[in-house]
Symmetry: C2
Subunit: 291 residues, 2 copies
């Protein structure tokens, strides 16, 4: 891969994450940042703000534009929901520029990796990734508020990935402000993410699901707000993520239910000493975790 200063970077999908990626890439001075997007107003705004250098409208009449745009890019960030991403790759695999490096940002990796291995042209490289950042407020207009500083990034490299491309992408990720980069398998990613991300979103949703009082926040001291902020989720995307990672997620929900039930039993049985001991163990365990 040539130096980033000589690269034309393409962003496919200028939503919250695509927009934030474009913003974080700019200080690294790529030759050009192009974007492909289905919404014309978003493209116009991104161009007017200088977030991108040029925009291409995808959609019904945008076929030719999509092909032209992809053919210009040395590096492509696919910032789409998982199912859309897999459809996009199936349809446009022929259009990528030979030798280009592709990556994605999907919150699930098993099905993405399978699709990539099934469809990727031999002259392209694709490194699946998951930037652990986001916001409960979606859309390009919110991209500026999405900070990458010190955040985690997971990569699930394929055996066929070129070492130099992996090193290039990791340097770029750090350059965008991310902190720890973890390399793992798609299976391990999906197992861990079922807990740290999907289960947390299910819990937040369940908390709001069981309380209709809008004024309940009068009684909030921070913990309720912190636990439920992510209940303002992007419903179609999270439905996809939950269902796509169903087996792991259900296993995690059941583990959590087991722990909740154990605490409930201690409370119901007035077992103060055992409860305090269990809470102390939890406190120490959480305190020993980073972040």
């Amino acid at each position: 891969m040539k130096p980033i200063e000589d690269c034309t970077v393409g962003i496919v999908g200028l939503g919250l994450m695509g927009g934030a990626m474009a913003l974080a890439l700019r200080p690294l001075k790529p030759a050009k940042i192009l974007a492909l997007e289905t919404d014309r107003l978003t493209l116009d705004a991104a161009k007017a703000d200088g977030v991108i250098d040029d925009g291409w409208l995808a959609g019904e009449d945008g076929d030719e534009q999509t092909a032209v745009m992809l053919n210009r890019c040395d590096l492509v960030f696919l910032c789409l929901n998982p199912a859309t991403l897999i459809r996009f790759m199936g349809r446009w695999m022929g259009a990528f520029r030979s030798g280009s490096l592709i990556t994605d940002i999907a919150g699930i990796k098993g099905n993405i990796v399978a699709a990539v291995e099934r469809t990727l042209r031999p002259d392209l490289d694709f490194i699946p990734g998951h930037p652990m950042a986001g916001s409960e407020k979606g859309g390009f207009a919110q991209a500026k508020r999405c900070s990458f500083q010190g955040k985690n990034y997971i990569l699930t490299p394929l055996k066929r990935n070129k070492r130099e491309n992996l090193d290039f992408l990791k340097a770029l990720i750090h350059g965008m402000g991310f902190g720890r980069i973890t390399e793992t398998t798609a299976e391990e990613h999906d197992r861990k993410i079922a807990f740290t991300s999907q289960l947390c979103h299910v819990i937040a949703a369940a908390l709001i699901d069981c309380e209709a009082d809008r004024e309940i926040t009068r009684f909030g001291g921070g913990s309720f707000e912190d636990l439920t902020r992510i209940a303002m989720l992007n419903a179609p995307m999270w439905t996809e993520l939950f269902l796509e990672n169903k087996t792991e997620l259900l296993r995690r929900i059941e583990q959590f239910e087991g722990s909740l039930d154990a605490l409930k039993t201690l409370i119901a049985g007035d077992q103060g000493e055992a409860l305090e001991q269990r809470l102390a163990t939890v406190r120490d365990r959480r305190a020993a975790m980073n972040g």
Copy 2:
């Protein structure tokens, strides 16, 4: 009640909240801030930092000191865990200065109100309160990091409270930086708090209870961290709060389990449309809440 500038304010218990109260009261220029505390090092540090004007050591040999200190105060903040607070009132009711106003900060109100109504001298006033602030890091040394700015404060006034004392306390609370003050009954407080505070702490504890991997935070993108920060809880205090509000808390845990189970069923049944609809309802409901 005389103006705050002429009041000697007493803080009983210089932990995180007692210390934060003293810090927040200082800019309101009370005549003096005194503190009663069982730990000599804490008292010395608070005096050296100018957080308090004078400190009194409670404990085995501190009986005389406790009585002398309480007799000097026009306004007393009891910043103790619920059971300690109830014991303290039982033992020291005779020592408060006639006409003084007392308040507390306990996270449960039913048993506090019952104890106050049982033991309060007719020449004293006691307005039960619950500042909805705190931190997972306890102790006086952390008090500076505990902000009251814009936070909620719940008061559960008694019928016998003097109107002027209630107005005085509310002005003081706003003066300390708190935002919304909600007046309600102890029963309503305990019902709502079981949801916004205690259930959230049980959930955070259960999340950590079911995952022993210290490196799991490599896979964290903010939601896991937000949902589990409060798992670093003060185990003895929360054990007390959970058990004291057992009936309401168990009811809330079961409501939550019902909602969690409904979401689990939709996921297990691959009911994408119904799941997306339920998540969208949750998102709108949370977005309509303040804070």
